[in-house]
């Protein structure tokens, strides 16, 4: 990604034939064309697929992955990689449940607390990576392990639900704040689930931030050529820190949504979130044939996987084929990104 290649002095052609233009459109729009094809295929096979309710359930199912994926995308943009997002989300589920059931906090206290927790994990990651110069993958892998273990300690490995018996023998007296549960279970105008609204807000906000702001330009500049960015006066340490804090905070937001949907702190929640959000970010490379992390692509990538899984489930594909299907999509998307779009215009 950060490789800089030597270029020969080949001027770009001035005129492109119609065939080239069509090819270019197909290449750039491949993911959207495939998505359209899936819609037609699934609707033909199962008319119930194309209903507002079903489409909203697809979006709801992918909202958490899309939100966490947006954070991963930001870390990819600075040339890093946040492997700890799944663990941050999972421990955020536990933290939210603990805050309400054991500590008896309200939704207004729990949400800021959990978001702060995510931001702090991001700061720890940034400290390891920026100050101690631990490579990104290793640092975030280490925090992933740390959090996966840490979330089990306060409850001695038990899941958190109403009436939890604490390690010291007493019973927890709190319960989930109904207001908190609304985050996962209410809908805007009775049709658009709140998590989908949150996903849209995060996607738009991060899209604008990464593609249309000075800060976004510096994010990509840091990832593209950190030396050049520093020599241009950029504070790359601060930029990288902000990226990890953003990623941690968004992962915590994902965890809050999961907790609000499930209504309990399950120790195994969020097991697949890391893989799914990383896959969404990588599938996003193929969107518009950008070959680079981009928030729009990540969101589309998450939706693409959601549509495919939903449609296939409606066609009675067994649940255990899901991971295989995700794998196929990821391999296909990467092949499309790097293999078939090599010819440059």
């Amino acid at each position: 990604m950060s490789e800089i290649s030597q270029s020969q002095a080949v001027p770009a052609p001035y005129h492109r034939s119609t065939a080239d233009v069509v090819k270019d459109i197909i290449r750039r729009g491949a993911v959207f064309l495939l998505l359209g094809a899936l819609f037609i295929l699934f609707t033909a096979a199962q008319p119930a697929f194309l209903t507002v309710n079903n489409l909203m359930s697809v979006l709801q199912a992918v909202s958490v992955v899309a939100i966490i994926g947006a954070g991963v995308t930001v870390t990819l943009a600075i040339g890093g990689f946040d492997l700890s997002v799944g663990a941050v989300a999972a421990s955020s589920v536990m933290a939210a449940s603990y805050a309400m059931i054991v500590l008896g906090l309200s939704a207004w206290q729990t949400v800021p607390l959990v978001l702060t927790f995510g931001a702090l994990v991001g700061l720890v990651n940034a400290f390891l990576i920026v100050k101690l110069k631990v490579p990104d993958l290793l640092a975030t892998l280490a925090t992933m392990f740390l959090l996966t273990g840490l979330q089990l300690i306060p409850t001695a490995g038990r899941s958190i639900s109403v009436g939890l018996i604490l390690p010291n023998g007493t019973t927890a007296t709190g319960k989930y704040d109904p207001l908190f549960l609304l985050i996962g279970r209410s809908s805007l105008f009775g049709t658009v689930p709140l998590p989908v609204v949150l996903m849209a807000v995060v996607a738009v906000a991060l899209y604008v931030l990464t593609e249309h702001t000075r800060f976004g330009r510096l994010l990509f500049a840091t990832g593209g050529n950190e030396i050049a960015t520093r020599l241009a006066g950029g504070n790359t340490a601060r930029i990288r820190t902000i990226a990890y804090v953003l990623s941690g905070t968004l992962a915590a937001l994902g965890g809050i949504i999961v907790a609000a949907r499930v209504g309990r702190g399950d120790v195994s929640s969020g097991a697949s979130l890391l893989m799914d959000s990383v896959a969404a970010s990588l599938i996003g490379f193929a969107v518009l044939s950008l070959k680079r992390p981009n928030v729009l692509g990540t969101t589309v990538g998450a939706v693409f996987v959601g549509v495919l899984l939903n449609g296939l489930t409606m066609l009675n594909a067994p649940y255990y084929t899901q991971d295989f299907i995700k794998g196929v999509v990821l391999v296909g998307a990467l092949a499309l990104t790097y293999g078939f779009s090599r010819a440059r215009t």
């Binding site: 290649s5 002095a9 593209g224 020599l231």
Partner: protein, 492 residues
């Protein structure tokens, strides 16, 4: 019959003609110097001879037989071996010198599969004896200095039964003493009937060694000189016009002192030096690779720090801790190796001409953070017009441009906002002659600032600067005047 007879060789890259009908004859046991400005086609000719690239047309004959090596290995098998400028690629840092000498034996299977330290050492000693050098075989390759690495590369070339040795800027990183040892080695090769194609900018090398100097310009051989070589004529042939025109008129009427260095020391233990540069002045610092030119510039830009002494900018003490502070003080730098120091990778955001120019100026051009206005496009359009950048639009990828145009974009970045001190480190690296003229004109046109240029090419230094200073062993030598011929003879 000559050893090598190259006739009318052509080679193009896209629309750029690197070689436009070059011819070159090398006799057995002859040392031929290949001269030419950047972009004249020297490296392309060498690459064709050594099998790295193929010629589009033309003929190459070796000992009277047609010869068109497809790979460096094929060229080596025919006795054409190249010793490249960067000799750190000759061996592997953690292995010994003996291993480095035998590297291609390991690859081509001339060594048995199972090795003993003794057998390796014996073969390596044989190779050294044949070459007539003395090197510490048991030392780690990484502990060898550049001069000894060069010897390793040459010894290896000789062990391949080289008939033609191509030396690419061999003295670029050597001290004067090491260079004169290299001269002895090269003259020894000549005495054994080995031909040498010697590529160098340094007139001292060529004067000491070459039987003949061939000058390339615009991809053609434009002149040849036999010993004793008339360097003024050779350099005029290289740049294609009289030497006097190449040297700028010394400009008087200078402004106030912008940069002043007092008893500055680059490293602990190196000699202290002073420097005064005035507004409107262009000063070039030349010297061999590793003389400390880049170090001086990076200390002024805040990526390194002086070991001692004081710097003043417009009369105020100046000691930037990082590039951001230097930029805030009005000191800007286009560092050497633009790919590494200035450009975003291909297909990555920020790879366009406009974004390359705007990167350091984003806070000023987009104070509210949002980038919806077309400020960077306007600035890029201005730069394209002013510097004559050959591009179709400001949003074209920088990677679609030639090296010279890329460098113009990098210069445009630092000229987009007014500055007090412009630092340019090797600004003519990989820049063709035409673009070089445009860049020189742009550098000299702006007299509201001071420009300090580091270049290892004295000819370039004379061409661009009002004043040329020589750096040696991390210290500036007392001043020369650019109109005196001395620096050209000693260091060109």
């Amino acid at each position: 019959m000559p050893l090598i007879d190259i006739e009318n060789v052509r080679r193009s890259f896209g629309s750029t003609r690197a070689l436009a009908g070059a011819s070159l004859v090398i006799e057995r046991g002859e040392i031929v110097a290949l001269m030419g400005a950047n972009g004249a086609g020297k490296s392309t000719l060498v690459k064709i001879l050594s099998g790295v690239q193929a010629a589009d047309s033309g003929s190459i004959r070796m000992n009277g037989q047609a010869c068109a090596p497809q790979t460096p290995a094929q060229a080596a098998a025919r006795g054409v071996v190249t010793v490249h400028q960067s000799t750190d690629l000759v061996g592997i840092p953690d292995l010994t010198v003996a291993d480095a000498l035998l590297l291609n034996h390991f690859v081509d299977g001339r060594q048995p599969f199972f090795l003993t330290a003794r057998s390796v050492r014996r073969t390596a000693a044989d190779i050294l004896r044949e070459a007539g050098f003395d090197l510490p075989l048991e030392r780690r390759f990484s502990e060898l200095g550049p001069a000894d690495r060069q010897l390793v590369a040459i010894a290896r070339a000789l062990s391949m039964k080289a008939q033609l040795l191509i030396l690419d800027e061999p003295t670029a990183s050597l001290s004067t003493e090491e260079a004169s040892r290299l001269y002895q080695t090269v003259l020894g090769l000549k005495a054994r009937g080995i031909s040498v194609l010697y590529i160098s900018h340094r007139t001292a090398d060529i004067a000491a060694l070459a039987d003949r100097a061939v000058v390339l310009r615009g991809g053609k051989d434009v002149a040849a000189f036999t010993r004793p070589i008339n360097f003024n004529a050779a350099i005029e042939a290289m740049i294609g016009r009289p030497l006097n025109a190449a040297r700028p008129q010394a400009r008087a009427a200078l402004g106030p002192v912008v940069l002043e260095l007092r008893a500055v020391q680059l490293h602990r233990g190196t000699a202290r030096f002073d420097l005064q540069v005035r507004e409107g002045e262009v000063v070039a610092i030349t010297g061999v690779l590793g003389a400390g030119k880049s170090r001086l510039l990076s200390a002024l830009f805040g990526t390194h720090h002086f070991a001692g002494g004081q710097a003043f900018l417009d009369g105020r003490a100046y000691a930037p801790r990082n590039p951001a502070e230097a930029l805030a003080a009005g000191v800007v730098m286009a560092a050497e190796d633009r790919h590494r120091s200035s450009l975003m990778p291909r297909d990555w955001p920020g790879e366009t001409i406009a974004a390359t120019i705007s990167l350091p100026h984003l806070p000023r051009w987009y104070p509210r953070g949002l980038m919806f206005s077309g400020r960077e496009t306007q600035e890029a359009n201005k730069a394209i017009a002013r510097l004559g950048i050959k591009a179709q639009s400001p949003h074209q990828s920088i990677w679609a441009l030639s090296g010279g145009n890329q460098q113009k974009v990098v210069l445009a970045r630092w000229e987009a906002e007014p500055s007090r001190l412009l630092l340019l480190d090797e600004p003519f690296q990989g820049v063709d002659v035409g673009a070089r003229q445009d860049i020189i004109a742009a550098i000299r046109a702006d007299r509201s600032r001071t420009t300090l240029i580091a270049t290892s090419d004295a000819e370039e230094a004379l061409e661009v600067a009002d004043r040329v200073l020589v750096m040696e062993n991390h210290s500036l030598r007392p001043e020369h005047q650019s109109d005196a011929p001395a620096p050209l003879e000693e260091h060109a």
